[in-house]
């Protein structure tokens, strides 16, 4: 899960979710993009409480719903936190959910939040013709990119967003979820 917004609320939200033994990781900077990659096999998260209660691992839609509920619980004093949740579902496909501050969520092929999101979203819409998961007949929302292509795209996007958004910059952390686990990649951005 990546969050942007008021940092104290972001931390508070992550503590809330971590208390339910979810693995959550924070992305630095104000601009977040998460891609939906088509890769095989599930990821091993340890959702101990969920596992104990339900005798099975927490699934991707369940996680998405949990975050939404956590956010809506504070409907009248919201977490000032804009989130993007990424994980692998039971079939091993990537799934991405975007949220607003009070818990409205949607499964998408790609999502952005933060101050630079408008700059990035337009570019992604042009480059990736990922259909909405809500269309009938149901179409795969997965973007047709290789992992290396996707990582390159993310780097380019953030470099461009840094040029024009004053809040975006310094460093970029990319977290890649695939069959082999969680990978981290770092990149330097403009520091002005």
């Amino acid at each position: 899960m990546a969050s942007s917004g008021f940092q104290a609320d972001v931390k508070a939200l992550q503590k809330q979710l971590a208390a339910k033994h979810l693995v959550s990781f924070q992305r630095y900077g104000r601009c977040i993009t998460v891609f939906d990659l088509n890769v095989a096999d599930g990821l091993h998260f340890s959702f101990r409480i969920y596992q104990h209660q339900h005798n099975k691992q927490m699934s991707c839609p369940a996680m998405a719903q949990l975050l939404s509920n956590t956010l809506y619980y504070r409907r009248f004093f919201p977490y000032y936190s804009f989130n993007v949740l990424g994980s692998l579902d039971n079939e091993g496909k990537g799934c991405v959910f975007t949220y607003d501050a009070v818990g409205s969520y949607e499964r998408v092929g790609y999502g952005t939040q933060g101050t630079g999101s408008t700059l990035i979203m337009a570019f992604l819409d042009n480059e990736l013709k990922s259909p909405s998961p809500l269309l009938l007949p149901a179409q795969d929302a997965v973007t047709p990119l290789l992992e290396s292509e996707a990582v390159d795209l993310v780097k380019t996007i953030f470099a461009s967003a840094t040029e024009r958004d004053i809040y975006t910059g310094d460093k970029l952390e990319i977290v890649i979820l695939n069959a082999d686990g969680i990978g981290h990649e770092y990149m330097d951005l403009r520091i002005d």
Binding site: T115, L119, N126, E127, D152, K155, T156, F158, A159, S160, T162, E163, R164, D165, I166, Y167, M187, D188, L189, R190, I191, D192
Partner: protein, 249 residues
């Protein structure tokens, strides 16, 4: 009134800025960053904030870009006419009076915060002019959103009798603003004014190149995708009467 109904006026282009000036042994050094912002977006990565007033007087401007441009252009023209009239080199005090009386007349509505510096017959001068029309005379000055960062550098490292190393100090102060203030960025412009000579060093230091990205590039479709084409001949809708009056010429 309109903003109460939810209609906001268009945002102005501001130069959320770091501008500095300092007096050294031989004259005045002015420095500025080169980023112009429209609220949260950078609208110009390489704009010029050091404005020409006279051959021996330059002025850095912070605040609303249109205001700084207009007011410095106006005073520059007035000084040119004055030079023709008097036949003498312009003085910094003249520019100062023209600027601050203009700003005072507009009661702060002209949002221009200026650092005016120059060398004339009476010596080197450096002034800070505030949007409401007040001014300060100082050996070193900073203005703009990055002024605190730049002032910190000046306060610790400035001393009287600086030589050409003053340029490095000015660069350091601007860089402090560039890296620590969100409204300032890109490169450093410097202008060195001495008796009878000036050096306008545009992009003296460029410390922020575009981050390294893949050279593959992206292909943008040249045409808009056509999703649906429907041709409706209007003849079906319009009745054409063959014997009508011919059009008058």
């Amino acid at each position: 009134m309109l903003s109460k109904k939810g209609v906001n006026p268009p945002s102005f282009r501001k130069t959320g800025t770091t501008i500095v000036g300092l007096i050294y042994q031989e004259g005045v050094i002015l420095g500025a960053d080169t980023r112009a912002t429209a609220e949260l977006i950078v609208c110009n990565k390489n704009c010029e904030k050091i404005h020409y007033i006279a051959p021996n007087i330059y002025c850095c401007g912070a605040g609303t870009a249109a205001d700084t441009e207009a007011v410095t252009d106006m005073v520059s023209s007035q000084l040119q006419l004055h030079r023709y009239h008097t036949g003498q080199e312009s003085r910094v005090a003249t520019a100062l009076t023209l600027l601050k009386s203009h700003l005072f007349n507009y009661q702060g509505n002209v949002q221009a915060a200026l650092v005016l510096g120059g060398v004339d017959v009476t010596g080197p001068h450096l002034h800070m002019i505030y949007p409401h029309g007040s001014m300060d005379t100082l050996p070193f000055a900073t203005m703009g959103s990055g002024s605190l960062a730049a002032m910190a550098v000046f306060e610790s490292k400035y001393h009287e009798g600086l030589t050409k190393e003053g340029i490095n100090l000015v660069c350091e102060a601007i860089c402090a603003g560039i890296f620590n203030d969100l409204g300032s960025g890109s490169s450093v412009d410097v202008c060195v004014i001495t008796k009878g000579h000036k050096e306008y060093l545009r992009n003296y230091q460029v410390r922020n190149p575009h981050a390294d990205i893949s050279s593959k590039g992206f292909i943008f479709p040249k045409k808009t995708e056509v999703l649906l084409t429907k041709v409706m001949p209007l003849r079906e809708k319009v009745e054409v009467i063959e014997d009508g009056d011919a059009m008058e010429e």
